[in-house]
């Protein structure tokens, strides 16, 4: 049994004296703490923690991908780099617009910004954790030596970041791969299962990529609205403080209303993001990994067929027949192994996907309902407040709210 959990702490710049959180400029600055609990004997201690950085995760992923033995497995997708671009931009805008806002507004927007930053943080941690957990729950991958090193080695892994050449090489490899993919999709597929899977996955991938993008835009609009609410609330507040007539009460109430509403809106936006957008994003990457598996298998098939042709040629020329035969045997073996494990992997992948979708969608719907309830009760409350001209009406309004909650 191997259980890995992930904690993280921010790297605080010692020079900053302000209370603003120091937004990490580089992913290097985000430090994760990987905490492992295990009963396996292959580890030295039953429980241990190591500090890790994002690059280390990428290194682990890449080594796994490059290992030939795992060609028949779906390697869990690498976690994306921690992306603080959004909050950082907002921080910048906030700094620029500070002069035009009241102090209150500024504080509130800063709070909102910090909340957003925290949300991104949480998301990052979650994604990295899921990566490790999938590795540790996979019967074959969790025995990988590199994985164990990753978990155990308490010194800095000093993972050499890819230098320019390697980056370029990687880029080139990707290009070749996609060109290959096109070629290989022309290869005739013998197995129906894989044929189906291929068409399904390709189609599904493009659709889910589209959905992810649209969901992202949607959640961003939601966030914009929440921000607008903040500013409206602040302006109403200043209006009410200036006002000396009976209007004052109304304006105050309205400002409060917007303040509360924006909290709810913000939460709706982030919930939607977590449940829906993240779900789609993750499975988009997962499907890419599955596609990679298919690719590798198709590559093996192509190799096998090539080796067959080579064998025939060798037989014709009566030269190097044993090598060709051996080569062919190897290819065949590899291909069979890939096919077998591939089938298993893909089937389990499908099941996993359905379960995850179901869970997340249900949770999202529940959250939306909860938020709608909260919003309506808030609004009910404020309507009563504004409307009530005497105690009786006020009490009546409260009763209504309680009834609504039931």
């Amino acid at each position: 049994m191997l259980k890995a959990t992930l904690k993280t702490k921010r790297l605080h710049s010692t020079q900053s004296v302000s209370d603003t959180p120091h937004l990490p400029q580089l992913s290097r600055e985000v430090k994760f703490t990987v905490h492992t609990k295990t009963t396996l004997s292959s580890f030295q201690k039953p429980e241990f923690s190591v500090p890790r950085q994002h690059e280390d995760f990428i290194w682990l992923h890449d080594t796994l991908v490059e290992t030939e033995d795992y060609a028949g497995l779906i390697i869990p997708p690498a976690p994306p780099k921690p992306d603080f671009e959004g909050p950082r931009e907002k921080m910048h805008k906030l700094g620029e617009g500070e002069a035009t806002m009241t102090k209150e507004e500024y504080t509130k927007m800063k709070q909102e910004l910090e909340a957003e930053y925290l949300a991104v943080f949480k998301k990052t941690v979650q994604v990295h954790e899921i990566f490790l957990q999938r590795l540790s729950s996979h019967p074959i991958l969790n025995k990988d030596r590199n994985f164990q090193i990753f978990l155990e080695y308490d010194q800095d892994l000093s993972v050499r970041r890819k230098n320019a050449k390697e980056m370029f090489g990687g880029f080139f490899k990707n290009m070749v791969k996609s060109a290959d993919e096109v070629l290989i999709s022309g290869v005739k597929e013998v197995d129906d299962f894989f044929e189906q899977e291929k068409t399904f996955l390709l189609d599904y991938y493009s659709k889910i990529k589209d959905s992810t993008a649209k969901a992202e835009k949607m959640t961003r609009s939601h966030k914009n609205i929440a921000d607008d609410y903040i500013r409206i609330s602040a302006t109403l507040n200043s209006l009410s403080s200036d006002d000396s007539t009976a209007n004052k009460k109304h304006l105050e109430k309205m400002s409060d209303l917007f303040e509360k509403l924006r909290k709810v809106e913000g939460r709706v936006a982030s919930d939607q993001e977590l449940k829906l957008t993240e779900l789609l994003r993750y499975y988009m990457r997962d499907i890419q990994a599955a596609k990679d598996l298919l690719y590798r298998r198709a590559r093996a098939l192509a190799d096998y067929e090539n080796s067959n042709k080579a064998l025939d040629k060798a037989r014709l020329k009566s030269k190097d027949i044993p090598q060709a035969e051996e080569h062919q045997q190897q290819c065949l073996q590899k291909f069979d192994k890939l096919s077998e494990s591939g089938k298993k992997e893909l089937t389990s992948f499908k099941g996993r996907r359905v379960v995850a979708f179901r869970k997340n969608l249900i949770e999202m719907a529940e959250l939306e309902i909860k938020h709608a309830k909260v919003r309506s009760s808030i609004q009910l409350y404020y309507i009563c407040f504004i409307m009530c001209t005497n105690e009786l009406q006020y009490a009546w309004g409260i009763c209504k709210i309680l009834c609504e909650q039931i």
Binding site: K207, D228, D242, N247, H250, F357, A372, Q379, K400
Partner: protein
């Protein structure tokens, strides 16, 4: 949902609470005023409900049933009907609603005179009923006329195409709605039933307020009630329905109903252009502004908006623009008629009543008058800066500061709300595209249960998109427009303060002039020139009179300004509260719907 009913009921109750007093009062005064008409009113009320049912029911159907039903109506009316047998069958309707306002004999004479001959009015009356039954949102008037089987009179060709001309006879609506609540004639479009509750009260209540209605496409009838202190029968009630925006030029029709004795008829419709509204404002501000009255300002000219409409761009921005303008004009007129002094102005009456107004050319931007106005404004601004008023009354100073601060903040709020609207519209767009994408994903999914769930998600998101659209529209019309109105009003308040300052300046100038004259007199006295002395003495007397007059003017203006500001604040509070509640109610409603949508998703997810 229960709560909504409560809310609606509550607001209605409030209305009736205020007005039961006046109702009983007016009802008491009715019979003594004119016994026969009083009884006829009652009678007519009862009997006319039936014919009205039939009539309105028949309107889309056939003419034939009209004559027998109208016979049920009280005798005096029969004369009318027999008088106009050949005329458009709808005419009989016109006197009936008039009965509900009980100005006696005028009723019977006026409609006969005014109604038959007036082509535009006829066709206009034709349209309201038409509109009541078929909801011609955005339909051109030509279309509505063609649909209307009864229209005998051709629409005056000069009108151009009215976009959704929806001139309506409120009285018709009132009676109709009162009626409809009973026999549930389902001919009215849904929107009028919204105002059902309110209108049915108005039937029984003799209107205690001036109401102005401008309706464009949708059959909104905004009725507001104010108390007026008219001792005679019923308080004035004006309902103006205006439909704006033909394709060629903005037309507005103001349909009014009133019981004020100063008006000739009870219910009337007139067509007005946007420039007419501006012209009215110019006239009123010239006449009353200097006296310290706060003249409500109309919406501004917008070249961009109108060009878009004229070009015929059929997108939402032009309909938005037209709707905004219509609402603003309606509120503008409502404020004008609510103002106790402004309503007395003959210009206002003329605006409301007269068939054809002379074209208000001096409102055009690029005319001679326009330039003159601009120059005047510039000189005013300069003089404002140079006048340093000795403020004796600290109340005014405080108020002015308040107004200015509020103005700034409201402007800021306005931009914020506009950006909120933009974002919400964005959200609805994005939600729509996400819905489509989710639907495609669902179709690509091979697991059937998940596929079904995904397509349901797509449906829910689609509905959410609708919701967001509505919410954005609501934000615009209840909230942003309200704020824009306030900003304009605050500008008008500022204007009245400026006028007061001008009055003060005049007074000061007169005083200094008087001083000069006195000095001249002293000099002449000393130089001993008797003939010029006489002149100087006369001038002094003249200037003394002027000084006293200007001083009195100033006092008067100050008092008026003070009164106006107080009244303005009270009105503002009331309006604001009402609007906020409406806005929040709609927010609430949309939340309920969100809840419903997502619950439907959740329930089906028992896979």
């Amino acid at each position: 949902m229960l709560f909504f009913k409560y809310l609606n009921v509550c607001s209605i109750n409030k209305l009736t609470l205020i007005f039961t007093g006046s109702t009983s009062k007016s009802e008491d005064t009715d019979p003594p005023l004119d016994d026969e008409t009083g009884s006829k009113v009652e009678q007519a009320k009862e009997t006319s409900t039936d014919p009205i049912i039939n009539i309105t029911g028949d309107l889309p159907a056939s003419d034939t049933q009209q004559p027998p039903t109208t016979n049920k109506i009280a005798d005096p009316l029969l004369d009318l009907f027999s008088d106009t047998p050949a005329v458009d069958a709808k005419k009989p309707i016109q006197p009936i609603p008039d009965l509900f306002e009980d100005e006696g004999s005028d009723l019977f004479t006026e409609p006969r005179q005014t109604k038959p001959a007036k082509q535009p009015q006829k066709s206009l009356f034709g349209e309201p009923d038409e509109d009541l039954f078929a909801e011609p949102l955005g339909a051109t008037s030509k279309k509505t006329i063609s649909q209307e089987p009864k229209t005998v009179t051709p629409k005056p060709s000069g009108d151009g195409g009215d976009k959704g001309a929806n001139q309506r006879e409120p009285a018709d609506i009132f009676t109709e709605e009162a009626v409809i609540t009973a026999p549930t004639v389902s001919k009215t479009p849904g929107a009028t039933s919204k105002t059902n509750g309110v209108h049915s009260e108005e039937d029984t209540d003799i209107f205690a307020e001036a109401t102005v209605e401008l309706s464009l496409d949708s059959p909104h009838n905004e009725r507001k009630k104010d108390m007026t202190a008219k001792p005679s029968a019923s308080a004035p009630s004006l309902a103006a329905a205006a439909a704006a925006a033909s394709l060629t030029k903005p037309q507005s029709a103001a349909l009014e109903e009133t019981t004020l004795p100063m008006f000739r008829t009870k219910t009337f419709t007139v067509r007005r252009r946007f420039s007419d509204f501006l012209g009215l404002y110019e006239k009123l501000s010239e006449k009353h502004g200097p006296n310290g009255f706060i003249v409500p300002p109309p919406p501004e000219k917008s070249i961009l908006g109108m060009t878009k409409v004229k070009v015929g761009k059929e997108d939402s921005s032009s309909t938005d623009f037209v709707e905004r303008r219509r609402g603003a004009l309606e509120r503008y007129l409502q404020r004008v008629v609510n103002h106790p002094s402004l309503i007395q102005d003959p210009d206002v009456r003329e605006f409301l009543e007269r068939e054809e107004l002379p074209r208000a050319v001096n409102t055009q931007a690029l005319s001679g008058a326009g330039f003159l106005k601009m120059i005047n404004k510039a000189t005013d601004a300069v003089s404002k800066m140079t006048i340093k008023m000795n403020e004796s009354d600290v109340w005014f100073e405080e108020k002015l500061q308040e107004v200015e601060a509020a103005d700034q903040l409201f402007r800021k709020l306005h931009t914020l709300v506009e950006s909120l609207v933009v974002h919400r519209k964005e959200l609805s767009l994005n939600t729509a595209s996400f819905a489509k994408s989710a639907a495609m994903l669902g179709s690509a999914e091979d697991n059937t249960a998940l596929s079904r769930a995904l397509s349901q998600l797509a449906e829910v998101e689609d509905k959410m998109e609708q919701l967001h659209q509505e919410q954005a529209a609501n934000d615009t019309f209840s909230f942003a427009e309200l704020i824009a109105d306030f900003i304009r009003l605050l500008g008008a308040v500022r204007g009245s303060f400026d006028h007061r300052m001008k009055a003060w300046q005049r007074w000061q100038d007169a005083q200094s002039m008087l001083q000069k004259k006195r000095e001249t007199e002293a000099k002449l006295l000393w130089a001993n020139k008797p003939d010029k002395l006489q002149l100087a003495k006369e001038e002094i007397v003249e200037w003394e009179a002027k000084v006293t007059q200007y001083e009195r003017d100033f006092e008067r203006v100050s008092a008026t300004v003070r009164k106006e500001v107080i009244r303005f604040e009270k009105e503002r509070t009331k309006n604001f509260k009402r609007q906020i509640i409406k806005y929040m109610e709609s927010l609430l409603q949309s939340q309920q719907q969100v809840k419903c949508f997502y619950s439907s998703l959740g329930m089906k997810k028992t896979m």
